[in-house]
């Protein structure tokens, strides 16, 4: 075994840095050769960059970067710090950024989704003029999301969030001559601008109450009681912060942009936003509320257990999302609402936190976001495939697609059943852990029983509309009057869909290690 080569600590930021570098390379390419539509090169660079980010994030996770304790990781060829005893969470730039297991976990989610989206975009965006901008914006947004995973101060959180948001607005509206795309971009932008204004105002109030923006420093001020005089200010600030995060995670009532943005955006972008962007929103949500506002001390200051806010949000979000999805006729819009519903499920991760526990349920929420990254991306990419073929948007238009594309439709069935949480697939386990986590926490707070009940009811309802889509493609017959002329088989889209499907299935047997990793990561942030 070669002696491990120890990298400097800032190298732990390699996953977002590689994404940023790729974005800049694409940007430079665009500056030199503005009219280029050399898709293989552009998409290739984007995919390579995303994969490099993915590989480093996985590598660091295996090497125990950010983890703590003996046997933190394997002694790989190059590591950050000591891989055997672990580095503990790596604080960078005075604690403005932190690389720990949770950060790496979400960097993996973001990188995977980015890679899938970049691969799928190769076919989907064929024929569009502004290729380089597209990929460079995609990578910039991914950089923002990846940085969000590591952000450890309200400053970096805000900057990373905007870095993720601004390219996303442009990406949604990138089909400049498509009224749907423009409408979606406008709505996304306006709600986003409003939300970020509320968010910044929340930051300013929290700053006013504590005098700090770095998360640990805020926690310390709260713990030492120096924020006691500003309990109202702090409470209002926290609620406004929740508003900002709710926008990013598409949670009610800040979800209004989501159905339109996902419906109008190019399908790969919808996949990107609903999976990676949502996951990134959740990672800062988790980090802020576990690090800056520890449950016990914060409750003492603001006179209220903040989990109550998430209990309300979780129930309302999953109910609104699933109920609105149930009778949709447009497949993409159905998926958009289902994405809102899933945000509600992931919110249980915070709703079921208790003073002395909750790593299981927080870990379950993280797992759910990982699985969701595959199954939801895959589902949106299937819609992208249908759009590529010009199939149409409604359930009826999808009738009998399985006759034409059995493999992709099998993958779609996997996505749908996994999203609904049917046993043989990854989506079942994460939902199951969320459910048991909520039940466990219910002994401390009986409102969690309501959350668990809402989870069950909404899952049952979601099975209805997910299986409707499976029924459409597999069982219903295509309208014979339609003379559908499919193009060829888009390799990139197929590859991305199949990979996502395989991962959705494989995650079940692999769930042991993934669950351990997520729960480790969750307990690490809860303890710190």
């Amino acid at each position: 075994m070669i002696d491990a080569f120890t990298l400097p600590e800032w190298a732990a930021l390699a996953p977002p840095l590689l994404l940023a570098l790729t974005a800049l390379v694409l940007f430079a390419y665009d500056s030199i050769n503005p009219r280029s539509t050399n898709r293989p090169v552009l998409a290739g660079v984007a995919v390579v960059g995303a994969l490099a980010s993915l590989v480093t994030a996985v590598w660091f996770t295996l090497a125990g970067t950010g983890a703590d304790g003996p046997d933190a990781g394997y002694d790989l060829w190059f590591v950050v710090g000591d891989s055997v005893t672990g580095t503990g969470a790596i604080d960078l730039f005075g604690g403005q950024l932190v690389v720990d297991q949770m950060a790496l976990f979400f960097m993996i989610v973001v990188a995977v989704v980015t890679a899938l989206v970049a691969v799928a975009s190769y076919d989907y965006m064929a024929g569009h003029a502004y290729q380089a901008e597209y990929y460079s914006l995609l990578l910039l947004a991914a950089t923002g999301m990846s940085t969000m995973a590591a952000a450890n101060s309200l400053v970096t959180i805000f900057i990373a969030l905007e870095l993720a948001s601004l390219p996303s607005y442009a990406l949604v509206a990138i089909l400049k001559d498509n009224r749907g795309s423009v409408e979606a971009g406008l709505k996304y932008f306006l709600i986003g601008a409003l939300s970020s204004a509320i968010f910044v105002y929340g930051i300013s109030l929290v700053y006013g109450a504590t005098g700090h923006l770095q998360l640990e420093a805020i926690a310390e001020m709260i713990a030492t009681g120096e924020a006691d005089a500003y309990s109202g200010l702090l409470g209002l600030g926290i609620v406004m912060l929740i508003g900002g995060f709710a926008f990013k995670t598409a949670s009610v009532p800040f979800h209004f942009w989501a159905p339109e943005a996902y419906e109008g955006a190019p399908a790969p972008i919808a996949a990107f936003l609903s999976s990676a962007s949502k996951a990134a929103g959740f990672v800062i949500l988790f980090r802020v509320f576990t690090t800056a506002f520890p449950l016990e001390t914060t409750t003492a200051v603001i006179g209220l257990d903040w989990t109550i806010a998430f209990i309300i949000l979780a129930i309302v979000t999953m109910t609104v999302g699933n109920f609105a999805a149930a009778t949709q006729q447009n497949v993409k819009r159905m998926l958009a609402y289902s994405s809102v519903g899933h945000a509600g499920y992931a919110l249980i991760g915070l709703a079921a936190l208790t003073v002395d526990g909750g790593e299981l349920v927080l870990g379950a929420a993280m797992m759910h976001l990982l699985v969701y990254g595959f199954m939801n991306t895959g589902a949106f990419l299937f819609v992208g495939l249908a759009e590529y073929w010009g199939v149409g948007r409604t359930f009826d238009a999808y009738n009998g697609l399985a006759a034409r594309a059995p493999v992709a439709c099998a993958a779609l069935a996997v996505f749908m059943f996994s999203l609904a949480g049917i046993p043989p697939f990854g989506g079942f386990w994460s939902k199951y852990f969320l459910f048991t986590g909520a039940l466990e926490a219910a002994s401390a707070n009986s409102a969690l029983l309501l959350v668990a009940a809402a989870l069950v009811v909404n899952s049952a309802l979601s099975l209805y509309y997910y299986s409707r889509l499976v029924k459409a493609v597999w069982i219903n017959d295509a309208d014979p009057s339609l003379d559908r002329d499919f193009g060829g088989t888009p390799t990139g889209l197929y590859a991305a869909i199949l990979f996502a499907a395989v991962m959705t299935v494989v995650l079940l047997p692999a769930f042991g290690p993934v669950a351990d990793l997520a729960i480790d990561a969750a307990s690490a942030v809860l303890v710190s």
Partner: protein
């Protein structure tokens, strides 16, 4: 020796491989998958013989291959964990059964070349695949080292017989017979499953052998006078034993779940041979023998086994008397003969029961294959009244069939005589001690007469006299692949009795009761699974009329006399050139017998007048109340959904307003709860 045991899984897996090969490639193979099956079963047979030799030289083997679930459930007796495993148990009993099953399966495969291939049947890859799967299931059942594994393969055996009985699925009767077989045996298996669960929950183990077996645990519980689930230990053992017996009664076609078996004749005759001799039906009795130590703990369970057996033996034999279809006669004889085995096991005659299981496997396979040969000869005619005179035209078929018939009737020196005699002897000596068993003995004894009668009625009608149809005058020739299995089995039917000449031993003192030594573990085997270990447990005493020898002579004389009497009576009535349908003289008794004692009718009546109304009521409840609630919920949900999505008006300013309203509501709720406004 170790090699033999290491190779044991191959015995089971070879037919499984044949199943896969025949299913996937059967259509492209020269004999449509038959060769794969023949090679696989021949391999299984050789390996089984190897295992048998290993056991004979003092070996025994138990190995767990795969644990597929383990749990922490505390059992009633306080065992803290339970494991569900797949493993093998190779001891004298399973080694013997392996040889029997693989031999019969091999011969059936060979015979099928003549019966199925040469007769131009279609769907042969499916046929051979199912035969392979069937053999695989039975072999796996035989080597099972625990009750759950046994149950699983028991079920698979049932599934395979369903598939094979319904092989000619385009006819009207075969699928119906297959369904009947499946449902009736499933009904019994339901109790078996309950029994498995009960035994697992009680003793925390399902193993057949060793200190950690449920048999040992049950014995201990009885000795300690424990109370299990509110019952005395012995009562509870009786209850669980009887639950398992439900599966046995279904599979081994004992009264009252025997009704499926005659209908199962709709399958190919080769399949009938396999089902009756070595697999499906044998599985039930084998299971009783396998967990005999458990039944031995409960006199009540043994008594019930004995009475069910004795009654079934007589009951089925009477019905066999009036059948005209050659396969029907054999079907009822099977039910009757398995009744004997149950009777033997029920009176504690473990060796006698297994001995008869073995002999019956040989002669019943012989008779069915012989009947198959007759059917080939007769251009697929099965009515005995249209046969006659085949004796001279197909001597090999005749003489082998005759050997089987003599064995079935129990006429010395053919194999059936020795084992049936031993069963009746075991029954009478127990009966002399506990008179109630004399009733079971009497039924078994009376059945001997009927057996002799219907067997030879069948032989004479089929082979003797003048041909009564064109087909019988000009039979279809049969080839080596039909004659070879018949000859093999014919020899076995004649000589298999040598394995355990108990009467000769008792009269002369010659130590030639090899099977008893074999099952007593004198060559090799586990001490807790031997005849003498069972003998210590069996709670029945024995008595003799005068001395043992006198009792033996009386029992043998009675049995042989009745068998010969039945045969002679049949000869008088039917061994004439133009036999008359004498059974018509029985009048209304004949009607009852022809209708099988209205067993089907009352079961159908039960189904139609009891189960069906209940099912209808449940269905109505489901359709109205349950579905009503469900539909109500779903329409409310969908209506709610329609309202919910109206929130999304499409106008972005509305969104901003709703967003702010939502935010303020959240703020107010939290503020009020947190007391920020005071």
């Amino acid at each position: 020796m170790e090699t033999a045991f290491e190779l044991a899984p191959a015995i089971v897996l070879l037919p499984l491989a044949a199943f896969v090969v025949a299913l996937l490639f059967g259509n492209y193979m020269p004999k449509k998958g038959a060769l794969a099956g023949i090679v696989a079963t021949a391999g299984s047979l050789l390996l089984s013989l190897y295992v048998m030799a290993a056991v004979a030289t003092g070996g025994q083997h138990q190995e767990t291959y795969f644990t597929w679930a383990a749990g922490d459930a505390v059992s009633e007796t306080g065992v803290p964990t339970i494991e569900f495993t797949f493993g093998t148990l190779l001891d004298p009993l399973s080694a013997l059964m392996l040889v029997i099953v693989s031999l019969i399966a091999f011969l059936v495969h060979v015979f099928s070349l003549g019966y199925m291939n040469d007769e131009g049947e279609t769907g042969l890859p499916r046929y051979y695949a199912e035969l392979g799967l069937f053999t695989f299931s039975m072999l796996a059942f035989v080597i099972a080292d625990n009750l759950l594994m046994a149950f699983m393969f028991f079920e698979l055996v049932g599934l395979c017989s369903y598939l094979l009985i319904g092989f000619w699925f385009r006819t009207e009767s075969a699928p119906s017979a297959a369904k009947k077989a499946f449902l009736v045996t499933r009904f019994g298996d339901y109790f078996f499953l309950l029994g498995v669960v009960a035994i697992g929950a009680t003793f925390g183990t399902l193993a057949f052998q060793g200190d950690g077996s449920f048999v040992a645990a049950a014995g201990e519980a009885i000795d300690n006078g424990e109370t299990l689930f509110g019952f005395g230990a012995e009562t509870w053992v009786t209850i669980t034993g009887l639950l398992v017996l439900g599966g046995v009664i279904g599979k081994s076609a004992q009264f009252p779940l025997h009704t499926w078996l005659p209908d199962a004749m709709e399958g190919p005759t080769t399949v009938s041979a396999l089902i009756h001799a070595a697999t499906m039906v044998a599985a039930g009795v084998y299971l009783v023998a396998r967990m005999f130590g458990y039944y031995a703990l409960s006199p009540t369970a043994l008594g019930i086994i004995a009475f069910v057996g004795g009654f079934t033996a007589l009951f089925a034999a009477t019905m066999g008397v009036v059948k005209d279809d050659i396969k029907q006669v054999l079907a009822y004889s099977t039910i009757s003969q398995y009744g004997y085995m149950m009777l033997g096991l029920g009176v504690g005659g473990y060796v006698a029961g297994v001995f008869h299981l073995m002999n019956h496997a040989f002669f019943k396979a012989l008779l069915f294959l012989g009947a198959g040969a007759v059917i080939v000869l007769m251009h697929h005619e099965q009515d005995m009244w249209k046969m006659g005179g085949l004796k001279d035209k197909a001597p090999i078929v005749y003489y082998t069939f005759l050997a089987g018939a003599l064995a079935l009737a129990g006429i010395v020196p053919f194999s059936g005589f020795w084992s049936k005699d031993e069963i009746l002897f075991d029954a009478i000596i127990v009966g002399l001690n506990e008179p109630i068993f004399l009733a079971a003995y009497a039924m078994g004894l009376l059945a001997v007469f009927f057996t002799g009668f219907y067997t030879f009625r069948m032989v004479f009608l089929t082979f003797h006299g003048e041909p009564r149809s064109d087909a019988a005058r000009d039979p279809h020739p049969v080839s080596w692949n039909i004659k070879f299995p018949l000859l093999t089995l014919g020899v076995l039917a004649l000589v298999a009795g040598i394995a355990n000449l108990a009467p000769v031993y008792k009269l002369t003192g010659l130590e030639i009761t090899y099977l008893e030594f074999w099952l007593d573990g004198q060559y090799g085997g586990y001490a807790d699974l031997t005849y003498s270990a069972y003998g210590d447990t069996v709670p029945f005493g024995t008595d003799y009329i005068g001395s043992e020898t006198i009792t033996l002579l009386i029992a043998a004389g009675l049995g042989l006399g009745l068998a010969v009497g039945g045969a002679v009576f049949a000869m008088v009535l039917y061994n004439v050139p133009e036999p008359e349908p004498h059974t018509e003289n029985l009048g209304s008794a004949r009607t009852v017998l022809r209708s099988n004692y209205y067993q089907d009718e009352y079961q159908v009546w039960l189904a139609e007048n009891l189960t069906l109304p209940l099912a209808r009521a449940a269905d109505r409840f489901d359709q109205t109340v349950i579905d009503g609630v469900v539909n109500g919920v779903s329409s409310v949900s969908l209506f709610g959904s329609g309202r919910m999505k109206r929130l999304q008006t499409g106008v972005v300013t509305n969104y901003a307003a709703l967003l702010i309203v939502g935010f303020i509501v959240l703020l107010v709720v939290l503020g009020v709860l947190g007391g920020w406004f005071v």
